[in-house]
Amino acid sequence: MRRVTVVVATIAAAALIALGASGCGDDGDALTIYTGRTESLVGPLLEQFSEETGIAVDVRYGDTNDLALLIDTEGDRSPADVYWGQSPGATAFLAGEDLLAPLSQDVLDLVDPAFEDPDGRWVGISGRQRVLVYNSDLVSETDLPDSVFDLTAPRFSGEVGLAPTNGSFQDFITAMRVLEGEDAAREWLEGMVDNDARPYANNNAIVEAVSRGEVPMGLVNHYYNFRFLAEDPGLPSRNHQFADGDIGGLVIPSSASVVAGTDATEDAERFIAFLLSEESQRYFATETFEYPLADDVPAATGVPPLDTLAPPTGEQADELGDIEGTGKLIAEAGLN
């Protein structure tokens, strides 16, 4: 009997704590940010924003795609004021559902027009470049291809890892469809399948497999190998850049938007402008090895400067959002 009393008391106490915690967790005045960036990377930046501006911030970290789906489900009741995703695809999905508000010209002016939505619903914050990561014990530098299109050649048969379900890979395919044409993209995907390209879960899994030597090379974002080498400088994985202007060297922006229906437009834009300030942009360059997309902040040591990259240009930002078409194309090629 005594034991039961203890159990009941525990439950009651726990319920009280729960109610207390839930009461103070919901701060209606705070700026609510949903972000697909991780706390490990951008946590310090958000703390700094609160300190500098006095604006309280509620951050929800999560998967870029899942958070976009959550905002879609929440609709006009969304608590989110800002959406800051990893991939233009997810942002374009929200834009397509009319869930993003246009940004003011002041904010748009901060960014190179190549990295913003023509309709002004998102701006690029920082860029990640597509590269070919390779195992320097297994592959000689001279054997590396100039173009991503070379990877369908017989000499790369079974040698290349890629992540067909990953947002960055899909963004890369979307850009290829826009810039090189639907047929070229289809042909390349089918060529990669015929060439026994090896599917992996994500960028991490590819870099890990390449560093073990399970697969000699793989298509990833440039950032991951920097992290792997920071944790273990002895790894044989290296980044290879495709030739200037090759679609394989696409720079993919992470992008920020104001969620439609927010009652804190001013604070939301202030936050996005903060991300584009020189201070924040320098943080991306030095702490996250990413490309600053505003001001003249140089890239991190060891990362080639953006203006020497000559990434392919001319893609229409709004067309980068046709993830449905890209998903179908990848599936039809048999890569899912």
Partner: protein, 532 residues
């Protein structure tokens, strides 16, 4: 017989069960609304291209369920009934692989055992050649078996602790060997617990995404995930199909498994089967299982933590350099998952009573709904609850992204884990004892508190333990529905691993394993002892 037993007050129980079962219908109802809204269910359901993923899901789930049934049952019997050396410590360690989130557990196992991995580097100088590639069916089967056998181990161990060893003693006295005794006496009495655990494994594997994604085995869940943003109607239709499939499997399994037998509780001390010459092989089996499922991933995580410690600790957001950043997540994890375990057991108990004592269709429906909630991917549960909460009036809508909603979501997602053991526990209480208490004039509540609950305690503790360990590592629901600024250990692990901060991710994962060990001891192991 059954009708004579129906308590007129079973009506009250039925009303309670209906009220409790309604939230469990929320995810399927949401999928139904979405699918009717968007259409296309029949095109998706009739798409031949999906037969492959469907067959792979079913095949993998069946194979893993069978393997865990064997491994989990053998381990449970060895540590509860024999003179296996170190069985006390093993009882604490054996449930722990469950707490490794599959995205980090599978990743660590790949890094350890795959071609060119850590094991190969260690064994290389000893002349061992290349290890096979870990992927596809064999890889997914091995990794999932190692990560999910506790779903069988915990309920079967609980069942064995509840069972009288007198029949085993008699069998042994009559000259049966340990194996013969196990087959003729132990197996029939634990069959329901094994089947319940195997079903949980089956449903877990069907819903798993982390492991199959990393091991490149193309199941139905991968199709759901890769379509969720690209083609949401297809993802919704596939999820609905998955949920309905799970319900069919649950109903089918329940009817095949048949009723659970009620047994007299043991009196006197525990029976200890002398393993004799089998002691070493038995220890080798349990030790090998733990080495692969727990020691290996933990060793890899430890290696990563140490390797990256020097580099990572200078960053302001480093977890290794600032371990105090894990205190709040550890408290949040304990609070949310502890509450979820208590709530889940409380919610499924009436259903277990209805099923065990009264039978009938209502109990079966509630049972199938609760169990089906475990087979849906977390992202579906999260979006469904977001949808219903925000579309509800005032008080309910205000719960959105608060702790009560998070705990409720855990209980909804993991209620199945408590229900199986609770059913076995309810039917394991001898009716004669309950009847005797009634004859002595004890009321229903008094009987529940003084007879039923104490006898059911090991089973309920096992169920609570399963919910606890699963909620501790839960990710998609936590990320979407937790209160703002409510980091858990699992979200810290994820955040670090997502951007390849392996030292931080490993350190947080090790804290998660350690915390789960402490909580398992407090809530499950110690409690088992107290009641036995």
């Amino acid at each position: 017989m059954t009708t004579a037993r129906v308590d007129p007050r079973g009506i009250g129980l039925r009303i309670v069960v209906v009220l409790l079962a309604v939230p469990f219908a929320a995810p399927l109802a949401y999928l139904l609304v979405r699918t009717i809204d968007e259409g296309g269910f029949w095109e998706v359901a009739g798409d031949a291209a999906l037969l492959g993923p469907l067959a792979r899901s079913l095949g993998l789930a069946t194979a893993v369920a069978l393997a865990t049934a064997v491994v989990g049952t053998a381990a449970a019997w060895l540590v509860t009934r024999t003179d296996l050396p170190g069985r006390r410590a093993l009882r604490l360690l054996l449930p722990l692989p469950l707490v490794l989130p599959s995205f980090i557990g599978a990743f660590a196992l790949i890094a350890a055992f795959a071609r060119g991995g850590l094991l190969e580097r260690i064994l290389g100088p000893l002349g061992v050649g290349t290890l096979p590639q870990v992927d596809g069916f064999a890889g997914a089967f091995t990794v999932l078996t190692l990560l999910t056998y506790p779903y069988v181990y915990l309920p079967v161990a609980a069942r064995l602790r509840q069972l009288s060893p007198s029949m085993e003693e008699s069998a042994r006295l009559l000259g049966s060997g340990p194996l013969e005794t196990f087959r003729t006496v132990v197996l029939p009495q634990t069959r329901a617990a094994i089947a319940a655990g195997g079903l949980l494994v089956f449903l877990y594997v069907i819903a798993d995404f982390g492991a199959v994604q990393l091991l490149r085995y193309d199941t139905l869940t991968r199709a759901i995930y890769s379509n969720r943003l690209v083609d949401p109607p297809v993802a919704a239709a596939l999820s609905l199909a998955l949920g309905l499939l799970a319900i069919v499997v649950v109903v089918g399994q329940r009817s095949v498994a048949g009723p659970v037998r009620s047994d007299v509780r043991r009196e006197g001390g525990a029976l200890v089967v002398g393993l004799g010459p089998w002691r070493l092989p038995a220890l080798g089996f349990v030790g090998g299982l733990l080495t692969l499922a727990l020691v290996a991933p933990v060793a890899v995580l430890g290696y990563w933590a140490v390797r990256g410690a020097a580099e990572g600790s200078s960053r302001p957001s480093s977890l290794i350099g600032n371990p105090e950043r894990l205190i709040e997540p550890a408290l949040n994890t304990s609070l949310a998952s502890g509450l979820a375990a208590i709530v889940a057991v409380g919610v499924v108990l009436p259903v277990a009573f209805l099923r065990g004592r009264h039978g009938g269709r209502l109990g079966s429906v509630a049972d199938a709904l609760i169990t089906g909630g475990f087979a849906l991917p977390g992202i579906v549960i999260a979006l469904a609850l977001a949808f219903w909460t925000l579309n509800s009036p005032g008080a309910v809508g205000a719960l959105y992204q608060t702790l009560p909603l998070l705990v409720g979501a855990y209980a909804l997602h993991f209620g199945a884990l408590a229900l199986g053991p609770a059913r076995v526990a309810v039917t394991g209480v001898p009716r004669a004892l309950d009847d005797a208490a009634r004859t002595l004039g004890r009321g229903r509540l008094s009987r529940l508190l003084s007879v039923d609950l104490p006898l059911m305690a090991p089973g309920l503790a096992a169920g609570a333990g399963l919910v606890l360990l699963s909620a501790m590592k839960e990710l998609p629901v936590t990320l979407l529905l937790a209160p703002a600024g409510f980091p858990t250990l699992a979200t810290r692990v994820w955040s670090a691993a997502e951007d390849a901060f392996w030292a931080d991710a490993s350190f947080a994962a090790l804290v998660l394993v350690a915390l789960s060990g402490v909580l398992t001891w407090l809530l499950v192991v110690r409690r088992e002892r107290e009641f036995s």
